[in-house]
Amino acid sequence: MNTSLVMFLVFIAITLGITYWASKRTQTTAEFYSAGRSITGFQNGWAVAGDYMSAASFLGIAGLIAFYGYDGFMYSVGWLVAYLTVLLLVAEPLRNTGKFTMADVLAFRLRSRSVRTVAALSTLTVSLFYMIAQMVGAGSLVSLLIPQIGFNTAIVMVGVLMLIYVIFGGMLATTWVQIVKAVLLMGGTILLSVMVMARFGFSFGTFFDAVAGVTGSFCEAGTPKAGVCPDGSAPVVRDYTQPGLYYHGQWGPLSLISLGVALIFGTAGLPHILVRFYTVPSAQQARVSVVWAMILIGAFYIMTTFLGFGAATLVGKENIGVMKDGALVPNQNLAAPLLAQELGGEVFLSFVAAIAFATILAVVAGLTIASSSAFAHDIWFNVVKGGKEDEREQVMVARIAAGVIGILSIVLAIALRSLNVAFLVGLAFAVAASANVPAIVLTLYWRRFNTVGMVVGMLVGLLSSVVLIVLSPAVMGIDPPTAAARHLIQAAPVFPLDNPAIVSVPLGFLAAVLGSLLTRDPAAEAAYSELNVRANTGVGAV
């Protein structure tokens, strides 16, 4: 029997045990959405890290570094520094003024119905994009590592498991699944890093010498064919310690900066991360959560260089992929698993595969609970029912919403399986940065902000990021007929940058500010006093 399969089953058994335990402690809305606020800051720090370190970062970054060297590391940097925005500006006031969802903070002093409708729309958009990317990744990963399980079976398996965690165990089960996953992921990454360094006699000098021995090449414009660039010049050759292998040419630097904008501001607008701060009892514990999350996430992303450079030196870019019809089809996601195989054989490969699987499951569960609370608490309870309290009904609606969202994401993931959906993660970050973050920051720190500003800002941020990404090289492109993952639109891109954030974030802020300045809402300004006092002192926090 396949060792990966055995390890998967062990993980599934443990998490189902957790879910059974949690299900008996999940009846009220506070329990379902926020684990009864019973999680400690330390535990929540692990859970935030678990929610955040997705398959895109574990497998994707290692792959990006293995294929493009230094430039892949740029993602790692942004993903940690982003937490300073969360720590300094968002986590504590959010915990002090909100209850269950991102929209709680926005609706605090603005007109509830319009604000919650738009905020829930944005939450559902961000979470669904993110979820589809994770599910498609899960499908190809599981079917690749355990050939007995097909692509569709893998997606359905992931979908059903995440629904069991969320529907029966609510936030409590989701939190502990994330903690278990984060421990596994950190353990596996430390082990892999140590094993990589052992190959180099634990000498960074030797390691970097080896990395500098690996080279890649690119053309300033176009892709090289038979060693010659389209304009007839020879391709530029750089070693793996040098920048430029991924981001180069006319739009390279601007793409890199735009990615930075999306990462640095987007994290503070990811609903599945924000709702984690409601699971702790106080703003102080929310701060402790961010501190632990930053320690773990930082250590993890520094280690991604060992994995990526390790795969580049010990496995070799030319060997990272799957054999198909006698030829190797490159696959970045396999850098970490193949490195594990190189270092520790089949058993270690299975271990890493099981970690990747656990990673995806935990992240999709977190996304599902964030979207189900946005639907049940914001749309159903506050907009449709006008805020009339009925605990049992609301929990029931949240469970049904989780089911619907889960099934929807399974269906969409299967429908989009042959497309390159990696851009969806970038899109989720861009929408979060352009639509959610301006609204959150302005309502907390600007008295004059009002409902019109929020609605206009959010819609402009959401639409501009979606439209620009559809026109960008992430979605538009002309693929050769042999390409494994095809672009959604087979045409030359209109917008030159991979990530729209450098345009859409300023647009979102501008629209929010203009919308507020052009209208007046004395009630929103008056209510700022209450928000200000409560955000800063914790008076009346639930």
Binding site: Y70, A212, P243
Partner: protein
């Protein structure tokens, strides 16, 4: 829409009524907000500038950034690595300062709760 007037705040067990503006004008509260701002604003500006210096320099000056400092370790890698330590140090500085904010906030909160009774 009639329901539009409902503001979405959570039910408040310790509301001092319409006196939020009074608390906001209280010298102790204003001191807290000022103290927080005098840390948070420069800290935020600093980390944004420090962070964006990396993609700007790496993107526009890849040759200069690719220069080796010792062995094969170059400026670009060291600068990227320094971002992690920058984030951790700023985090530590904030946590240290925040203990003072907590004590101030707790005093104000106690007054507000006392006044509500």
């Amino acid at each position: 829409m009639a329901g539009e007037e409902i503001r979405g705040r959570a039910p408040d067990p310790v509301s001092p009524g319409d006196d939020w503006a009074r608390v906001e004008a209280d010298p102790e509260f204003r001191a807290l907000v000022r103290a927080k701002r005098s840390f948070l604003l420069p800290a935020t500006v600093f980390f944004i500038v420090y962070y964006f210096a990396l993609p700007v320099l790496v993107g526009y000056f890849p040759e200069a950034m690719g220069r080796d400092v010792f062995g094969e370790v170059n400026v670009a890698y060291l600068f990227a690595l320094s971002q992690f330590f920058m984030a951790w140090i700023l985090m530590w500085l904030y946590v240290r300062r925040a203990r003072g904010f907590d004590a101030q906030a707790e005093r104000i909160a106690a007054q507000v709760r006392g006044g509500a009774r």
